[in-house]
């Protein structure tokens, strides 16, 4: 390749002026920069106002009742003072656990199918599309669906039905995040696994899933956090109960329904409890979100 050495630089004979490199605030470009930066800060703060005010209101109105008795006592009746919602906390955790029991294994296996086994197949395209539709699915319809399938068949509202309704909502989130995470596992790692003499199944179990684990866990945590705060699907499936959960096949209390019930009551004690329950629910969701951040960032 010939280098064009002989072509003279344009204006080679002019003496170059020393450019002014100092900061100038009156310059149009720098002025615009400042204005836009200030604007962005203002808008961001504005966007944070509703979020922070909701949290502040929860802390102010519900924080006063926060105490151990909330978790150990049952909801009070009409004019009874004190009380708590221990059964609702337990009920929520139980139903979320049941939902995870269904949605996590199926979600992960589905994600592996979508991400590794047959990413290009028609079945995968269809599944992916349906899962995406399902993520935006009105949660009350999940409740109605499970009501028709389980509650009517079992003849009773139950924790199982509540868990199933939440599972329907969690499944697409778990599956799609699992797909994303297994896709992020570099191809060269999969090649290495094959090169070592792994079967496809061994490659998935020994290399892909362990590598993708933090991402998969993040998806599970987010799905759990979303499910814990959901009330609509539980209205038709778990209903509510004023007592501790005795079996999985009886109506079961949950925080979300308790908030819904108590907030409409004419008794100040119940309204206070509804606020406290809201705060507890937000804290539970917060714990799961933080946990998802922690496991997500533990990736190398």
């Amino acid at each position: 390749m010939a280098v064009a050495r002989d072509i003279p630089l344009p204006h080679a004979d002019e003496v170059p002026a020393i450019p002014d490199l100092r900061h100038s605030f009156s310059d149009r470009r720098s002025l615009r920069n400042t204005v836009l930066t200030v604007l962005l800060w203002a808008v961001s703060l504005l966007a944070a106002v509703p979020l922070i005010s909701v949290l502040a209101m929860l802390v102010i109105r519900g924080g006063g009742r926060l105490g151990l008795e909330l978790f150990t006592e049952l909801p009070p009746a009409g004019f009874e003072p004190g009380g708590g919602f221990g059964n609702a906390v337990v009920g929520t955790l139980v139903m979320v656990a049941i939902a995870s029991l269904f949605s996590v294994p199926f979600g992960i296996l589905g994600g592996v199918f979508l991400g590794v086994v047959a990413p290009e197949s028609r079945l995968a395209d269809a599944t992916r599309f349906i899962a995406k539709v399902l993520t935006g699915f009105p949660s009350i319809l999940a409740g109605v669906f499970v009501y028709a399938w389980l509650v009517l068949a079992m003849g009773t509202y139950s924790a199982i039905a509540g868990g199933a309704a939440l599972a329907v909502l969690m499944l697409p989130t778990v599956m799609l995040t699992a797909e994303q995470s297994v896709r992020m596992v570099p191809q060269r790692m999969k090649d290495a696994a094959h090169g070592m003499g792994c079967t496809d199944a061994q490659m998935v179990w020994k290399v892909v899933l362990p590598t993708a684990l933090p991402g998969i866990l993040t998806g599970i945590m987010l799905a759990v956090a979303g499910a814990a705060g959901n009330s609509a699907p539980l209205l038709f499936t778990a209903l509510f109960s004023n007592y501790w959960i005795g079996s999985f096949t009886e109506p079961t209390a949950s925080l979300a329904i308790l908030i819904y019930n108590f907030s409409g009551m004419p008794f100040p004690n119940q309204i206070e409890l509804a606020w406290a329950a809201s705060l507890v629910l937000v804290l539970i969701v917060l714990v799961f979100n933080i946990a998802s951040r922690l496991v997500g960032s533990s990736k190398v």
């Binding site: 060269r188 790692m189 090169g195 070592m196 003499g197 792994c198 190398v300």
Partner: protein, 277 residues
């Protein structure tokens, strides 16, 4: 060039007309197809036991394709098909009753990009042992493999650290340790140094010369000097672009010194002298 001459003199003091031992791999590949694309034709080469065989040639000449055909890595590409035979210690690995997974456990591979798993250094090396349900002293086998790969002294105090935290050259040596931990018969290396700096490259080349005592090594390299330094036998691949396609073929193979000093084929001569790459 003194380094190279040094190597040529010291590394291979074997008689010129050594009796050819039974090859570890006798590859008689007539055609390799990717769908309708003919990627390689006429590549008949015997891979000598406990020798280093180097594949050189311009880009797209099919040397990696041939290499990956030797342990059926190409089977992972759905459109791949092969005409011909590849005999590994007498058995045709493309025969119907052969399990490619088992083939790969005997013919290990080191890739162009270092690709350790996202797990501890120890677990990386132990991976193949666990895969083969090895019952024995893992500690000892892992240490041995890491020593053979020349990595032990650098990592012995941090075996629990993630393998991805090592430098590129160390990662590649970790991959070599991982590959040799299960004692494969043959080690295929697909441009193992192309992502490494010259010092790491030298270390790995010295490693290869040490490994050939116990293993048969096949290395694809883009770097002719590297082939001169390490290979006992060199195979030169070229590309045939007649008819609009790009089909690689084995142009010439022989003892490394002969290929570089006295090539028989005009194409080899031109490639060696740097006329094209």
């Amino acid at each position: 060039m003194t380094l190279v001459e040094d190597f040529v003199r010291t590394a291979r003091p074997r008689p010129v007309a050594a009796p050819a031992p039974e090859p570890a791999i006798d590859a008689r590949i007539d055609k390799v197809w990717y769908g309708k694309f003919l990627a390689v034709r006429d590549s008949h080469i015997a891979i000598g036991k406990n020798r280093i065989t180097g594949f050189i040639g311009p880009s797209g000449c099919g040397k990696s394709t041939v290499l990956r055909s030797l342990n059926r890595m190409n089977d992972l590409i759905p459109s791949f098909s092969l005409e011909g035979h590849v005999r590994f210690l007498g058995q045709d690995i493309y025969a119907r009753n052969i399990d490619p997974v088992v083939v790969r456990r005997h013919i290990g591979m080191v890739f162009q990009q270092p690709n350790p798993f996202s797990m501890s250094i120890f677990e990386n090396v132990a991976f193949g042992l666990r895969l083969n349900r090895y019952r024995g002293d893992y500690q000892q086998r892992v240490e041995y493999a890491l020593r053979r790969a020349g990595l032990w002294d650098e990592v012995k105090d941090k075996l629990k650290q993630n393998g991805l935290a090592l430098s590129g050259g160390q990662q590649q040596r970790l991959c070599i340790a991982r590959a040799i931990a299960t004692e494969p018969t043959v080690l295929l290396m697909d441009e193992p140094c192309s992502a490494l700096d010259p010092i790491a490259t030298r270390i790995i080349e010295e490693l290869m010369l040490d490994l050939k005592k116990d293993y048969t090594v096949v290395i694809v390299t883009h770097n002719m000097q590297q082939a001169m330094r390490v290979a006992d036998t060199t195979a030169f691949y070229s590309v045939d672009i007649t008819g609009g396609g790009r089909t690689g073929f084995l142009c010439e193979a022989g003892p490394t010194r002969q290929i570089f000093e006295d090539p028989r084929e005009e194409l080899t001569k031109r490639y060696i002298s740097g006329e094209f790459s």
